[in-house]
């Protein structure tokens, strides 16, 4: 029923690879996720990796708690989710302020650029505000060519400065989802 429109720029086909390479370089080991089409290529790379462990979750807040435990055990992680899952994390995000562990999440956006599904709009519109109110710094990538730099900045800020960070991967970047028969 659902198909994905191509990303607006052809040179952007490799941005998930850019993200994967940076996560590898930062020795990220645990990658909890709630599946999203926008993350599918990255999830496949993680699941095929010998150093990273992809961990499917039943709800996004599990990933916040998992990363707190992973860091207490000496491993870095990153949480992959879509914008509708951010609201599920709110209370659990208090862990990032109490323990100041290096929290990084990559969020694929829905409910913004050309969204067809009205149900995605409320949470998509409040995603950035929810993060900021919860003490998480937000960076955004809108064009394929900037993903690498944004990701590099986010990883450094999260893992070196122990500052909770979210990267919003805009709907324009991942391609608008379309509804077809």
């Amino acid at each position: 029923m659902h198909a994905r429109a191509d990303a607006s720029s052809e040179q952007g086909a490799n941005w998930p690879e850019d993200i994967f390479a940076i996560l590898q370089r930062y020795d990220v080991r645990q990658v909890p996720y709630v599946p999203d089409a926008g993350h599918s290529q990255l999830i496949n790379r993680v699941l095929a990796s010998s150093t990273m462990r992809g961990i499917p979750l039943t709800t996004e807040e599990e990933g916040v708690a998992l990363l707190a435990g992973a860091w207490a055990g000496g491993q870095r992680g990153v949480l992959l989710m879509q914008s509708s899952g951010v609201g599920n994390c709110i209370n659990m995000l208090s862990l990032t302020q109490i323990f100041r562990f290096p929290f990084l999440t990559l969020v694929t956006m829905r409910g913004e650029w050309g969204e067809f599904n009205p149900w995605q709009v409320p949470m998509g519109a409040s995603t950035q505000g929810v993060f900021e109110l919860s003490g998480v710094r937000v960076l955004r990538a809108t064009h394929p060519g900037e993903v690498k730099d944004v990701m590099e900045a986010a990883a450094s800020q999260a893992y070196n400065a122990c500052t909770a960070t979210a990267v919003l991967l805009s709907q324009r970047l991942i391609g608008t989802k379309v509804f077809v028969k």
Binding site: T58, V64, G69
Partner: protein, 251 residues
């Protein structure tokens, strides 16, 4: 997973952690964190007083990061119910070093004792099993809690020490030329310990099989064993008057 009126939660947690060794322990919101503190402060405790529903996932992250260390999550039924999906996530990852303990008092003790779902419907052991956590069970008495795997080590350490001491003694006899050359000290030790153990266990039930008085039976078995391995021994009440040979033992 216990009724509050059958178990003392402080005692339960203290007993479970008595021999924790290197274990990493996560305490959930909220009373289980008090239980953890009451059992004694420890650098390997990770206590929560918030982030409700997250205890099991913190334990999973730790367990995956430190696969050689045992990780124990101790939480309550209310906290577990809020993070019930995490049992499915654990069931999929199947970490062999993660133990989840739920103190199920069927109520929210921190907020005034309102009943929880386990009081009337939810079965957390059933949920855990259905999520692929095969070894899930309810413990209702202290003896079950005390009956831990490491107890087999405790139970066997005394007989093992006795057997080792006996072997050393028998080997020494052989070395000094007091016993025959070709006997196996382990087998001899097993025979003697077997006889004494069987006597101790069976004499009340079968006095006809074990007719010797309890005070002298072990002495008799020992003499028989020494004779079997070729040790020359004097009479039971050894005075050694009739036997002048130097290489003699009185059992």
């Amino acid at each position: 997973m216990s009724k509050a009126n059958l178990l003392d939660r402080r005692k339960v947690v203290k007993t479970l952690l008595a021999d924790r060794k290197d274990a990493l322990v996560v305490g959930g919101l909220g009373a289980t964190t008090y239980d953890l503190a009451a059992a004694g402060d420890h650098a390997r405790n990770f206590a929560l007083w918030g982030a409700m529903g997250g205890a099991v996932m913190i334990g999973l992250g730790l367990a995956l990061a430190q696969p050689k260390l045992p990780v124990v999550v101790i939480t309550g039924d209310g906290e577990m119910l809020m993070g019930m999906g995490s049992l499915a996530t654990v069931g999929l990852q199947k970490p062999s070093n993660l133990t989840i303990i739920v103190l199920d008092n069927e109520c929210y003790g921190e907020t005034g004792g309102q009943v929880s779902h386990t009081s009337g419907a939810a079965d957390l052991v059933g949920v855990a099993k259905a999520c692929g956590i095969r070894d899930a069970r309810t413990l209702e008495t202290m003896s079950e809690i005390e009956e831990r795997p490491e107890m087999s080590e405790c139970a066997s350490c005394v007989p093992r020490q006795a057997s080792n001491d006996l072997c050393l003694y028998l080997t020494d006899l052989k070395r000094q030329g007091l016993a025959m050359e070709d006997f196996d000290p382990k087998s001899a030790a097993a025979m003697l310990m077997g006889a004494i153990f069987a006597d101790a266990m069976g004499r009340d039930m079968m006095p006809d099989v074990y007719p010797q008085p309890a005070g002298s039976a072990a002495h008799m078995y020992s003499r028989l064993l020494l004779r079997a391995i070729g040790v020359e021994i004097g009479p039971a009440k050894a005075t050694n008057k009739q036997n002048k040979r130097p290489k003699q033992l009185s059992a």
